[in-house]
Amino acid sequence: MRKKRLFVAAVAAVALLAVACQNQKAGPTTSTSASGCNKPAALGTARDFRLAASHTLAQASASPSASPMVSVSPSASPMASETASPAATSGTSGTTTGSKKVVKLGFLGDLTGGNAGLVVSAYKSAQLAVKQADAAGDLPVDIQLDAKDNKDGSADTAPALAQQLIGDPSVVGVIGPAFSGESKATGALFCQAGLTDITQSATNPDLTKNGWPTFFRALATDAVQGGQTGAYIVKSLNKKNVAVINDKSDYGAGLATAVVASIKSNGGNVVLNQGIEPTTDYTTIVDSVIAKKPDILYYAGYDKDAPLLFKQYRQKGGTALLMGGDGDKGTNLLKEGGSAVDGAILTCPCLDPNASSDPAPQKFAQDYIAAYGEPAGIYSAEAWDVANMFIAAIRSSGANTTRKSVLDYITNLKDFKGLSKTFNWTPTHEVVGGDITFVYKIVGGKYTLLGKAADLSGGSSATASATP
């Protein structure tokens, strides 16, 4: 009898540990720091978006050290989503492989996992940029894209994929990583290798504070987005009471902090501010929101989870206006959210080329539809810009392109005309005057552009209105 009890207690302890590990597990990156390549400042929180439930009991109760365990290239992975296979058109540009030197651009992000809706479009845009450059016929080298599929965008698995790119000497630049946690986990590695990485979508403000000379960011940060969101809610929407929920990822928690601060500083009221790891059962948090009767429910997280939360909130009779940031503005929110998310408002530092009135983005939007038979999704314009920066760097050095020549070219970039904005770097490698947040609304199952947040809220918090 006693043994039995002991046994049950032991098993219960294992279960307890498993859940505790899930909630607490920190994923320190295992990088040996070299001069100038600092590890991320806050290692304790260094784990980004990850399915709470994706770790099985066995994994969770094992040692929590972050081990590079999965390395999947898209060509080898089963295509799970309805999105077109990146492998189908993978990289190889045109027919003129012959005698030209091959120079590769890496791409790192979630191409087939739950958050692929935030990444696939960027990848296809990078492909399009390479294809267009190739079609011009004057490329001095053969540019190929080498995509590394980091399923679900986990920070734990990103370093292994980064190492694969670093290990290939023909890779001279990396587009991405797509998410903040991935960027944080790989920044020091790319830095040591002297390999330039420009992210088209990682928006955690702290990323550029690590002092990595190789890391650049092609869009505004969560601090900018969050700051303008508060002003927009209070001044443009005239709403007071906001419930803010985040998914406890590097991205979600950072954005939520910025949103909460700006709502308060603009005179609004944050009635609820909580984090919840991605799950299926949002009952408890939904009840909390309903009890507070907010005017707005804001979710800082990713589009894999947002529709579940929003649907369960609507099912329970919640009527607040639904809002979210760029992480929520993927295709899955529209698909899985259905009528529950109609009228929802999303902010994004990204330009939707389909909704733009400028000729260059419009042309890109048409080219994209012609190439893939579907409209360009989130971060497509930014990824196209990043790819073209790299292509310009490669053109300028021709067959002598090295990692160093690319880094020098990108670092000294002057007035580079992109679709989303004109690029000049600040000393920390943010875009000069790039603090733009666009506001979108879901109407009839589609994102429509309402305008720039700063303009909509009377320009009060606008510091710059740069080119489109």
């Binding site: 049950v8 859940v19 909630n23 009991l57 399923k151 909580q274 009840d287 369960q312 329970k316």
Partner: protein, 303 residues
Amino acid sequence: MPSCLTSELPFRIVGGLSSGGVYALIAIGYTLVYGVLQLINFAHSEVFMSGILAGALFLGAFPPHTLGPLLLVTAVIPAMLTSGILAVSIERVAYRPLRKRGAPRLAYLISAIGMSLFLQYTTQVWRGVNPEEFPATIKPTAWLHVGGVSVFNTDVIIIVTSLAMVFALETFIRRTKTGRALRAVAQDAEAAALMGVNIDRIIMVTFFIGGLLAGVAGVLFGMNFGRTQWNIGFIPGIKAFTAAVLGGIGSIRGALVGGLVLGLMENVSAGCFGTQWRDVVAFVLLVGVLMLRPTGIFGEKTV
């Protein structure tokens, strides 16, 4: 008094009973198997997952406009059968060979975890990593308004179904011949065998019943949250196991009470301390109960 114990409390109770009902149905699978074999069947969370998946595939085969409450009730049948058969197969493949060789307890535990991983990743390869929709059959509508609290039809369905299933199971075990044999095996397997009870058959029945209830739980879960995925069983499985231990593992009523108490505690504590603290409070409660009553609320008794 904080609002979580006054104005919010009715909400929390309804939400807690609804979560707890599903935990209870899964917990019965753990508790029955433990009662008969003194074995924790960790692969039970995948039995639950197979029920959700079977329900989703069944409903997905119908055109959307035909979906309704009647079809939901029908979907319970394939879900129950799938889960029941899977549970029996798990017993055949993962436990019976060990039992025949008189393996130590630890071997069963490893075998269970291995089975659980095998089933999860097989499903992942088969269905992919992305979540799939569990087709909506019932439009959630508020049935009751009591003192400003809306009680939704989905909550009522979950709570009533769980209670009914537990009652039916109790009756089955108390009143039928197979039930008596089951109790006999639980009390003393050797003596039962000497009295002519076919132990292998009874063990199969035990797993099958656990699977049937997990199938029902799966459909209820799918109805409530509208999604299925390869690893969706993990968290509810852990919670249900906790509920079984809390109520007193081996006891059916214990599983019910444990599930409901756990659901309530999670929801009420989420209101009082924030959702972040939900699991902390739930497990502190578990540890607390085990310290005072090591055998759980109802005491460890065998079926």
